[in-house]
Amino acid sequence: MKDKNLDFLKKQYLHTPIPEELDSVVKKALKDGSEHRMKRNKLIKRTSVAAVLIVVFAGVLTVGINSSPAFASALEKVPIVGGIVKVLTFKEYTVNEDRFKADIKVPAIEGLENKELQNSLNEKYLAENKKLYEEFMAEMENMKKEEGGYLGVDSGYVVKTDTDRILSIGRYVLTVAGSSSTVFKYDTVDKKEGILITLPSLFKDNSYIEIISENIKDQMRERMKADDGFIYWVDVDENEEFIEPFDKISPNQNFYITEEGKLVISFDKYEVGPGYMGIQEFEIPTEVIADILVSNEYIR
């Protein structure tokens, strides 16, 4: 009876469905590994069939301040409760077919007193997602001509922080095509003043780039020391060989501000570590940046 049971389990095991992208994933990893060994400076990355989709947010977004008439009228239909700033789903694009799935939720901010800012953000969100959707459809048409392949996009938003003063809204795009990729983008708004808070605007000068980067590297080393499973592209000791290391944050690195008034720096999948690490966030202790903050208005 033992053997019969084990045979059954083995059969189940051998019937694990094999995704067709396995082959390309292995080949890509072989190539990456080999290049890494040769050059020791190649970032581990699985490019996907739909790489084009991932690039969407990397592109420069030119957004007109005036919203389109159609867009403005759609927003006007939303009842605005006096002075309350809200984020809601303005529009949703969905595709649900066997090999093609898309769920794209477009957020819209309402209730900001600064309508220009509100419209420009909302129009940016709409433009980003419309583009994402159109590219998805184009890629889908292309792939339909071929036999296999799978394409999925999930895009939406999360409100990270919503206090009297601050609204931090994060939009994500998850693409699945050969492999998965996740991209997060944040906007942080001062509701009272009606301004968009950028990372440089929080600091007196550019020294924040170095100071924050050094702190993040320390945090990375601590996390790696505490858990073998954590891997970041950062040197732990001099002997260690590392791949194209994390050097510093970009001047406009993704960030948001927590309810407690802490600055959080965010990195996309692959940005500072191997893919399985996913999205990585680092809260910067306020005392580290206290000297260079313009004020304690937002960050405490």
């Binding site: 095991y13 990893a29 080999s34």
Partner: protein, 167 residues
């Protein structure tokens, strides 16, 4: 020296391509979803090639490779337990992975519920058809420990099954 390396790399690459489905199934048996299993295979193959200097003797290619996959899978599970990354939770609901179609079987459940160090041995011995000494090599344990755990696993499985049958 260089030629030897080139040859070794080819051997590893060939092995990876030939056994990719074995590695995938093994990874899947840990994480139970396609996307994570793919990530693990990718990571394992990448590690194998980029750190092939750690393979001292090419005769151990097979156990060395399996060891990388097992360790990468276990690392992944450990990390998942205390992953601080936000976002992924939200995204987790968006899962294209194949549905666990045999989840209802008591037998399968009994296997899945085995502690990791026991389950791994059952999988490697009976599903991947590896020899006891190969498994010992992969897990860096001595042969007797592996044997003991294997018998213990079968015992647990049998007890659980008979319990099920009685009910």
């Amino acid at each position: 020296m260089l030629l030897k390396n080139k040859y070794l790399e080819e051997q590893i690459a060939e092995y990876a391509v030939k056994h990719k489905e074995n590695f995938y199934r093994l990874a899947y048996s840990y994480v139970k979803n396609a996307d994570d299993a793919l990530d693990i295979v990718q990571e394992s193959v990448y590690k194998a090639i980029s750190s092939m200097d750690s393979l001292k003797n090419p005769d151990y290619l097979k156990t060395w490779f399996y060891r990388i996959v097992v360790n990468t899978s276990l690392d992944f599970l450990r990390r998942q337990k205390r992953n601080v990354a936000v976002g992924e939770e939200i995204l987790g609901s968006f899962d294209f992975g194949a549905v666990d179609s045999y989840g209802d079987f008591d037998l399968q459940r009994a296997l899945d519920n085995l502690p990791e160090k026991y389950r791994t041995i059952v999988v490697l011995r009976y599903f991947e058809d590896l020899k006891i000494d190969e498994i010992a090599e992969i897990l860096n344990e001595n042969v007797n420990t592996v044997k003991t755990r294997l018998y213990k696993s079968l015992e647990i499985l049998r007890v659980k099954l008979s319990e099920c049958e009685e009910v």
